[in-house]
Symmetry: D2
Subunit: 359 residues, 4 copies
């Protein structure tokens, strides 16, 4: 089959013929119809992000496609089903603290690298082999809709965080990083989950206005100044009442003081979710007053990705019209132009833009 | 490899050489050292229980052994590890409502039968192939201890129920069916989980006394009379305070009125767990006053088996000395005497007896 | 102050002057602006429902008004605040299983009657004294909006049930009793909580069509036939997928077989909520197959009313525009016409009608 | 009645006659039989801790006594009942984020101070008036046992933390601050809740040995060196497996780097509880790597005190013999010697010592 292969960090993807995956008894093989190119894929491929990848590798974080072959551990899937493939591979021999490998992207620790040996290649290819539990049926869609359904890959990430924080309909959320790609998805997901109000801080006023235009008056924009104390106060004021849940998904470049300004807007007994890339390459850690955490009874959830049962309900929210996928402007490339797709994604990292590869 | 094979219901197990299992990519192969023969295995093999089994089949519900081969979805298991194999096979393509097959025992519905096609054979054999998530490490044990560790197979069942009911240390539990095999295990597990008191009703006074002798004063025996209203009142009186959780694990032969007497001892806002075989072959259903359930805010949990993460913590409770395995008198047979083992198990169905096959 | 007083069951309410409530240190006194007359109030006042009420009594289940006086156990309430008063009085000396008294309506057991002694009178009066925790701030409203906000009294009941069942956005719900007063509120609340689909069974096709007209395509009406097996199958077919949660709020007159048809539509691992009045005056209990509950891992929640923290979030859902109060056609009476109000409420028991008393 | 009164910070308690409390409708009056003097009471009375107290005040954090008078919001309490009084007063008009006042000790924010106005005086007196929900029945005890039951005041604090972290039987816990007064109580409580193993780090080897001597082999002592990286590694090694839950209850004097060494021993997906006094008087905050919290999916719970339902179950654990109170050596003073009691408590701050005032 045809695939885009990274042979060494910093070189272009080689578009070439590679052996098609062979089905094992714990997996599903999917014909990829569309896969989203994450905006920072260029940083992964250049080696700048220092992600743990065993080369050569086919990159690509999940996608949308049709089931080609099914193992004996599936009872409801059928060949031809339209499915979403998630990239989060978890080891099956530790139900409590599984190792994690993000197929086609990165892995956590030695255990994650062991998983990567077998679930090695990502979705920039005609086919992908994924663990059975990573596949979720979409129901009937048309091939042209496949691009838009890839947006679930964006939305499932914040959904995982809000599930960890047990977000309730009627609550008030603050999304730190709201004008980013995942952050704007967090705004949409929080609203779809019934948040009464989403405070959206950012520096880019045009983008803040755009969030309000698209999602309506439940979004409360806040222009940040860069002064920690001022920003904290402004964000609090923007909310009509106490902020129940703060969600942070800032990129690696952001200082922890910016994150702290957002965190400390949360009300007593509130919950904080950390899903960003901050400190990924070191730098000063996140410093918080111990006494504040204790006296105010704050809970902080570090969350990486989302649980296996998340996709079913998010798909249902889309089907019900509660979560819209048509906010994304998509630009599709074929596999032969995978390098162009990566460059395009980097140049169009905004919140409502999605770059696709259609193998 | 050698195995005990059921060729048709009502015939003896044939002890013969069968092909050894071949490892797939989602499984583990275990050399079985000891497997417990459930007391009613004779009723399964005779066809009396009408369990869904695709013949010929190697029966046997999990067991204890050593890892022989490991798939690529495991990162912590090593060849040679002592492990517990659980029989509960769940389909991997539905995280919310998976199909279930009890390997070597039975299956639920069409989906369960599809799982049975691949995870077909049970543990009355030298080797077994199980899904990776069904294997839990025991740590170092000696071969002679393998029999006792099989008792976990008994204990995990009520543990699954108490987890569903979120049993808290310091609570009062009533075990309906306490003098049975699984019921007495429920008493032990509830105590190990920190139950302040376990009310143990039954008709067999000798056995009730035995429960108190073994587990101490936190067990409160109640002699049942067969009169529903009287029995309900007696059980309530036996508890030092309100009963927080009622756990029922009565066998198929018991009438639902007996179960109801136990259920209705639970306090307002209390939880009821149903794990028995009642109504398995039809008969009058469980009739409860709707208004009582509503006004008293009762929660009823139907529970089949236990979740994937249960074994790790139960093993830790044993290692910590909080749950003892030495209450069981074990009688072991080799594979050649599997039929004798089944007969022996049926004749020794009491609470502190365990019949083993050691392949 | 003026109040409507029930002196003996079966006699008209006497509109007369009674002593105004005196503030204690654990309460709030509220000037009632509007209170909803529950449709079956006539059955309570006639004695037909045999509700536990110590006569003479001022009936009336909570309402909307302004804070007149505040005890020392409140820190955020201010005199003049618009508030919702809930009727569910819970004893404060048992955090685990509190006694319950529905102020102005009924009480559960001896403990409930003890609470009724002090929190004796309901809301058909110019003032009411309620426990501090029963008051929730509404924010600014106008006096003319007070009628509509009373609809929260209807909506909080099913909300309590869905909270118990941990309803998730994206799930599918079946509301048994959807064409009734509380049942239609359950449909609205489930949708506001993000249910992807609400199956609404009933016999009244006009009303079913009305539910769809008001709440849109996410509501799936089902015409019931009265045949249990048929109805169960029809309800399942009406859902686009498995039914995650069945909510029942049938009135006392309905047979338990009707309830069972609804309950048994729930998917494996599904949740059932029972909040209706079924069996209130005896009759055959709810009979369910034990084996089905167990094998399918069903959870059944009996729920009476709603927890103390429910109102805050439901009010936020209204403020956010996610839950609309304008579906109700309200008809208001003054206190002098309280008996007319009770009669009118009985004659207009439909789902989108609300009868008010404005003292 | 007689009471010990603090008139200004830094002066001795005045033992004098003050008006007895008058019962309101939301409270209970208790005749105090014994009250524990927290070891740092001297720092509160001197003003060193800068606790928010409206002077003059009767200090004292809850205690054990007999019910003298009961409000109408209680249905199970009776005059003469032996009870535990908890100090945590919560405002009743905010179910989601109540204000908190620790009666006789301190208050949080303006709202807490408003509560303090009414629930003003603590337990160094013959009588105390507390909110009804702050009283829990102990069952029958003798007056001489009252001292020991006061130990619950110590134990409820860590119990509140373990409840927040949903500690499960069979888990491994690390108690940071294990050789302190609350820390050693945390060790006892974790064991009573079924922890398989409690890692107990500290600098005082004698005290570590004492913990093992009293609580047995499930306690794993670790001698700390003061080197953060070394200490973290030592603590991990002391556990037989991954550490599921880290509980910190370090005093204000301890540096956040010491806390961090403990926190970072927790396994992926583990939970951290912060209940100490660290940063109470400022100093460098707790700095943690954001990326570690996120990638390892860590949850951090700040917890102040314990929920209203905690005491019932902890009392049941004592009654069941699962939590022993006889580890404490008690030294009792009468009210006339309250100042001596405070000095004695400060001089005997060790883990198994308790200083009492018996009014």
């Amino acid at each position: 089959m045809k695939a885009a292969v990274l042979k060494s960090f910093g070189t272009p993807l080689a578009i070439e013929d590679v052996p098609a995956p062979v089905l094992g008894t714990g997996e599903v093989i999917v014909d990829i119809v569309s896969t989203r190119v994450i905006s920072y894929t260029n940083e992964v491929l250049s080696g700048e992000r220092q992600y743990a990848l065993d080369l050569p590798v086919v990159p690509g974080a999940g996608g949308v496609g049709r089931v080609r072959a099914i193992g004996p551990d599936a009872t409801k899937l059928a060949v031809g089903d339209w499915v979403l493939c998630g990239p989060t591979v978890r080891s099956r021999d530790d139900a409590i603290a599984p190792d994690i490998h993000l197929q086609g992207v990165s892995a956590r620790g030695e255990g994650g690298m062991r998983l990567q040996k077998y679930f090695h290649d990502g979705s920039f290819a005609e086919q992908i082999r994924v663990p059975t539990e990573n596949v979720t049926r979409l129901g009937q869609i048309s091939a042209t809709e496949a691009d838009q359904w890839c947006a679930l890959g964006n939305m499932l990430v914040p959904y995982g965080g809000f599930l960890a924080a047990k977000l309730q309909p009627g609550e008030t959320v603050l999304v730190s990083g709201a004008t980013g790609n995942f952050g704007s998805a967090a705004v949409a997901v929080a609203l779809a989950m019934g948040a009464a109000c989403v405070v959206a801080p950012g520096r880019n006023e045009t983008m803040l206005a755009e969030l309000v235009r698209r999602y309506g008056e439940r979004v409360r924009p806040v222009k940040l100044t860069g002064n920690e104390a001022d920003d904290c106060a402004r964000m609090k004021r923007a909310a009509p009442g106490p902020i129940d849940c703060v969600f942070d998904i800032m990129p690696p470049s952001v200082a922890t003081t910016v994150v702290r300004a957002a965190i400390m807007t949360v009300r007593p007994y509130g919950r904080v979710v950390l899903m960003g890339g901050v400190n990924m390459q070191g730098g000063a850690g996140l410093e918080l007053p111990y006494n504040w955490i204790m006296r105010e009874c704050i809970t902080i959830h570090g969350v990486w990705m989302y649980p296996p049962d998340a996709a079913v309900r998010l798909i249902a929210l889309v089907r019900a019209g509660l979560l819209r996928l048509d906010h994304y402007e998509t630009k599709a490339f074929d596999l032969d132009h995978a390098n162009e797709a990566v460059a395009y994604a980097a140049a169009n990292a905004g919140p409502f833009s999605m770059t696709m590869i259609r193998p």
